[in-house]
């Protein structure tokens, strides 16, 4: 019996004890992202001031990968400028496609533990749900 499941402590911790899964009173940007095939569904809320993400949170339902990915994303982008967040999203999405450098991977900090998803085609959509939602949202900022 193999036992190298990909659900390590960092991932399960973000899933069971998310830091950013809550309502955000004073958000000025809000967008729902869904994965029809999985039923994953998150609502991403950001508070953006002067082109900088000053706060963020998400709500919703989904598998551990979609939830933990959104939580780690918010860890990473809160406090960053729109451009920095877009840059990170770009790296993350390329990581999931399997094409980034080690240096870039480091920029993703904890979120880099999801790199194995590149070998799990059925879960790609879960991992990128939060990031795609943020990307789309930032186009409006």
């Amino acid at each position: 019996m193999q036992n190298n499941t990909f659900y390590n402590e960092v991932l399960t911790d973000h899933n069971l004890h998310p830091i950013h899964k809550h309502h955000l009173e004073d958000a000025n940007f809000s967008l729902e992202g869904v994965n029809p095939s999985c039923g994953d569904d998150i609502i991403l809320n950001l508070k953006v001031e002067d082109g900088r993400i000053v706060d963020g949170a998400y709500e919703g339902d989904g598998c551990a990968i979609s939830q933990a990915s959104a939580d780690m994303m918010l860890d990473l982008v809160i406090g960053k400028s729109k451009e920095e967040a877009e840059h990170l999203a770009d790296i993350f999405l390329r990581m999931i496609k399997g094409s980034i450098t080690e240096d870039e991977k480091e920029e993703l900090e904890e979120a880099s533990i999801l790199s194995d998803v590149s070998h799990m085609p059925a879960r790609v959509k879960c991992a990128v749900l939060g990031w795609h939602t943020m990307q789309e949202m930032l186009e409006e900022v």
Binding site: M1, Q2, N3, N4, T5, F6, Y7, E9, T12, D13, N15, L16, S37, C38, G39, D61, G62, C63, A64, I65, M120, A122, R123, C126
Partner: protein, 407 residues
């Protein structure tokens, strides 16, 4: 493994080749070498375009195809081979009924009834037929444990009801519905009864004449046959009066620039070059099942279901959907595990070499009715054994821990 287990397992080398515990049989079954080889043998010795050929190969291909039709007809107790139309899969069979029968014979003011427990393939075609004809689609709600009785149909059926669609075995609950009873109620009110046999024909003996259903749809790939071949059973007089569905070669009598007259039943429903290889594979799959016999198949599947559900009952975090009685599951065990999303459950099973299915099981309206978005399903075939169940349950009880719960 018992000796019997080993004997059966020898027929499914993929399980060993891939070292997989395969518990997704409701999605598709594995194929024994005899089925693969029957199709091969056809291509190596008899392949030709059948039906119109005037040479030996084509006559052989025609025989192979029509004998396969007879095997299928006998297997489900049809009155005559012509009552079997070969299709691609159960979904196409159901669409054929919806396009050819429902869209022709139903009209505004009429009613279609289907149950809330149907697979999308036995629901969307009726939604569409209702939309196009102006008929009304009414849902028959099962109880939360999947119970559906003819009396429940009796309570909602009206004189306007023209078609009732019910699955014989639900791919979520695994419960065997009383098609004979439903057919009686439908007929008493002048409606036809469409039975979805996708999950029943592979797992329980089916006799269409005894059930008295008007239509029965099923797929080969869920019963050890190749993909790409399925069947529609329909009573002969219905097929006679239904217009064609697909138009083209092989389904006509005369064609002019103005229109056409159509070939005899069942050819009028089989446009274009038919799938002889697939039909031959399906016939061999049926003979394969018959060599083991229903006694063995149903007994093994039931024993394993009982064994699995008894074990699962011990574990408080797991909740099986449907009847508490394993004998009402026919190898289909759909469940929730507290605090873990089905997709993560399936992924962890996969990491342990176990194939189960997670999601809505093509039954979103049923999921919604049951108050969930998705569930996990283990589904058995007679080639599964106790070791498979032990591994399945052992892994199941580990998942919450792997996901960070204390227990």
């Amino acid at each position: 493994m018992t000796e019997k287990d080993q004997l059966i397992r020898k027929e499914f080398p993929i399980l060993k080749n891939r070292n997989v515990i395969y518990l997704d049989n409701a999605a598709t079954s594995q194929k024994p070498p005899c089925v693969i080889e029957a199709a091969d043998q056809y291509y190596r010795m008899y392949n030709a375009n059948p039906l119109r050929g005037l040479y030996a190969l084509s006559v052989d291909a025609t025989d192979a195809y029509e004998n396969a039709r007879k095997t299928v007809a006998d297997f489900i107790g049809a009155a005559r081979p012509e009552e079997i139309v070969f299709t691609r899969n159960a979904s196409e069979s159901l669409n054929l009924i919806a396009y050819s029968y429902a869209r022709t014979f139903l009209k505004e003011g009429d009613e279609i009834i289907c149950t809330i427990a149907e697979h999308h393939s036995n629901m969307l075609p009726w939604q569409q037929a209702a939309k196009v004809t102006g008929a009304k689609l009414t849902y028959l709600y099962c109880e939360k444990d999947g119970t559906l009785t003819p009396q429940m149909l009796e309570d909602i059926i009206t004189e306007r009801t023209k078609l009732v669609a019910v699955t014989q075995i639900s791919n979520v609950f695994g419960r065997l519905n009383d098609i004979k009873g439903f057919a009686k109620v439908a007929h008493d009110h002048g409606a036809v009864l469409v039975a979805d046999g996708a999950q029943s024909v592979p797992h329980v003996p089916v006799d269409v004449q005894d059930l008295d259903c008007d239509f029965l749809a099923f797929s080969g790939h869920k019963m050890f046959a190749p993909m790409g071949i399925g069947a529609l059973y329909a009573k002969y007089d219905l097929l006679e009066k239904m217009p064609p569905f697909l138009y083209g070669g092989e389904m006509i009598e005369y064609v002019t620039t103005e229109g056409a007259t159509y070939a005899e039943v069942p050819h009028k429903f089989e446009a274009g070059t038919v799938n002889v290889g697939g039909a031959v594979g399906l016939a061999e799959a049926i003979r394969f099942m018959q060599r083991f016999g229903w006694d063995l198949i149903t007994k093994r599947e039931e024993e394993l279901t009982v064994y699995a559900m008894e074990k699962m009952k011990q574990y408080p975090y797991v909740h099986v959907i449907g009847s508490e009685d394993p004998k009402e599951h026919h190898g289909i065990i759909t469940f929730k595990l507290d605090g873990v999303h089905p997709h993560d459950i399936a992924a962890i099973f996969d990491a342990h070499g176990i194939a189960v299915r997670a999601g809505h099981h093509c039954a979103q309206p049923l999921m919604k009715y049951l108050g969930t978005l998705s569930t996990t399903r283990a589904s058995l075939a007679f080639y599964n054994n106790k070791e498979d169940i032990d591994a399945f349950v052992e892994t199941l009880m580990q998942i919450r821990k792997e996901m960070g719960y204390a227990e």
